[in-house]
Structures are given as C-alpha cells and as structure tokens.
C-alpha cells in the first residue's frame, strides 16, 4: 500500500473560478489537503497555474475530476511524492 503525499500539476484553467476559489475547491476535497497555487501565464481567456497539492493520501482521480469539472485541464504532472507502506 502506497500513499501519495505531494503532487505538482501544471493546469490550464479559465479565469473563472479565480485562483482562490479554485484552490479552495481542491482543498475541500479532504480536510488534510494543503493547496498552493501560483499563476505562471495569463492569456485573454485562460491562465496557466501550478498547483502544489499536499496531503496524507491524495486521491488523484477525484482531484483530476474536480479540475475537469471546473473547466480546467491538467497539462502535465510535474512532480509526485509517493511513500511506501513502511513509511505510513
């Protein structure tokens, strides 16, 4: 059994929801989630953001589903931190 402790995602999102609402929605997926979002590029209709998500065991599927539901798309998974069972 492994646990995903950290994921860094490159996300392309529309301007709405804004960064605060976007990060809040992700953080509300689980009480132990810690989300950091930084905007790296701004366009007329979209913005590229780097989302750093940390938690005890991140459920990537629900994170990815919520990101899609908010009208954004994951461009790449830039960094992942997974712990083996003995580290739990």
């Amino acid at each position: 059994m492994t646990t995903t402790r950290k994921i860094v995602l490159d996300v392309l999102k529309p301007h709405k929801p804004n960064g605060v609402d976007f990060a809040t929605a992700l953080a509300q997926l689980s009480p132990d989630y810690h989300v950091r979002l930084s905007v790296v590029e701004m366009d007329a209709k979209t913005e590229s953001v780097i989302v750093v998500l940390e938690g005890k065991n991140i459920a990537f599927d629900s994170v990815s589903e919520l990101i899609k539901k908010m009208g954004a798309s994951i461009h790449s998974i830039d960094e992942v931190e997974v712990h083996g069972s003995e580290t739990i």
Binding site: K16, D21, Q28, K69, G71
Partner: protein, 193 residues
C-alpha cells in the same frame, strides 16, 4: 452548507442574474404596456362583456409568456453555446461535463423563465380587477379604469425599480415610466374610432 462544487455552479448562475434582471424589466414593461393598451382600448370602445375582455387579455398574457420564454431561451442558448465553444477552443478540451457546460444548459432556462413569467405575472395582476368585477365584486370605478390604474401603478413600480438599479431618484424614475405609459394612452385615445 453549500458545497464548494455547487458554489462554483451557483457563481455561474449568479453571473446570469444581471441578464435576468434586464429581461425582467424589459419584458415586464412590454407586458404591462400591452395590457394597458388593451384596457384603454376596451374602455374607449365601451366594452360591456367582461368575459370577452378577460379572455382576450389572458390570450395576450399567455402569448407574451410563450414569446418571452422561447425568444429568451433560443437567444441565450445560442449565446452560451458560442461562449462555451470559444472557451473550449482556448482550453482545447470538451467542457460539456464541466460547470461551464452545466451553466450553458441551466442559465438559458432560468433567464427564459424570468423573461416569460415577468409579463405573465404583471398581466395577471392588471387583469385581476376584471376578474373581481366578473365575479360580482363591486369596484369604485369601471373595472377597465381600475385595471388602467393598476397598470399605471405597475409601470411606476417598474420605473422605481429601474431607478434603484441606476441609483437615480426613485420618484423621478417612476414618473418617467408613467409618462411613457400616458403617451401610450393618449395615442390610443387619439385613434379612437
């Protein structure tokens, strides 16, 4: 407590509030003036058959509802689809299952309902004196005159509401819309045959 996911969708719907408000006033004004015109017409022509007048007004009210609902739905649906398509092109993804997709389905329905119900409800309020008189309730004046007075009050209130939105003096905003209604009444009286 509203979940964050639902809040996202609600924020999209909230964006439609201004459009719905505009439609409510525009079509409400439309419906009220139509009823005012009909009531003035019935009054100057000396119509005695209240049943005929009620049916004519109800027919017009339903027509205003159908016209308001369908025209707003079709135009809003087209606008939302276009907006969604442009955003899809920018993001290079399908947004049908996103909050944007949900909003493009629900917002036209919401706005169309406001656009349809606004003239219908105002028309029913204006026709109410005719109903009352038809069911034997005595009114101080002719039911058509009472209906005209109710229509003028509705128009005044719509003006006051517009004044509130634009932060103008409420009385002036209300009187301005009543003035438009009086021009309508005067025009109908001029064409009395």
């Amino acid at each position: 407590m509203i979940r964050e996911k639902d809040k996202q969708l609600l924020s999209h719907i909230y964006r439609g509030k201004k459009i719905a408000r505009r439609y409510m006033v525009t079509n409400g004004f439309d419906g009220t003036l139509t009823m005012l015109g009909m009531m003035t017409g019935f009054y100057v022509s000396g119509t005695k058959e209240l049943g005929v007048a009620i049916n004519a007004c109800l027919g017009a009210a339903v027509a205003l509802f159908v016209s308001g609902f369908s025209s707003a739905y079709l135009s809003e649906k087209a606008e939302r689809q276009e907006e969604l398509r442009k955003l899809e092109q920018a993001l290079l993804i399908d947004l049908e299952d996103s909050h944007y997709g949900d909003a493009s389905r629900y917002l036209p329905l919401l706005i169309a309902s406001v656009n349809g119900l606004s003239p219908l409800s105002l028309s029913l309020i204006i026709v109410a004196p005719l109903f009352l008189a038809h069911h034997g309730i005595l009114l101080p004046w002719s039911p058509f005159l009472v209906a005209i007075a109710v229509a003028l009050i509705c128009i005044f209130l719509l003006g006051v509401y517009l004044g509130k939105i634009s932060r103008q003096f409420w009385l002036w905003a209300g009187l301005r819309t009543v003035f438009i209604a009086l021009i309508l009444v005067a025009t109908i009286l001029m064409f009395d045959i």
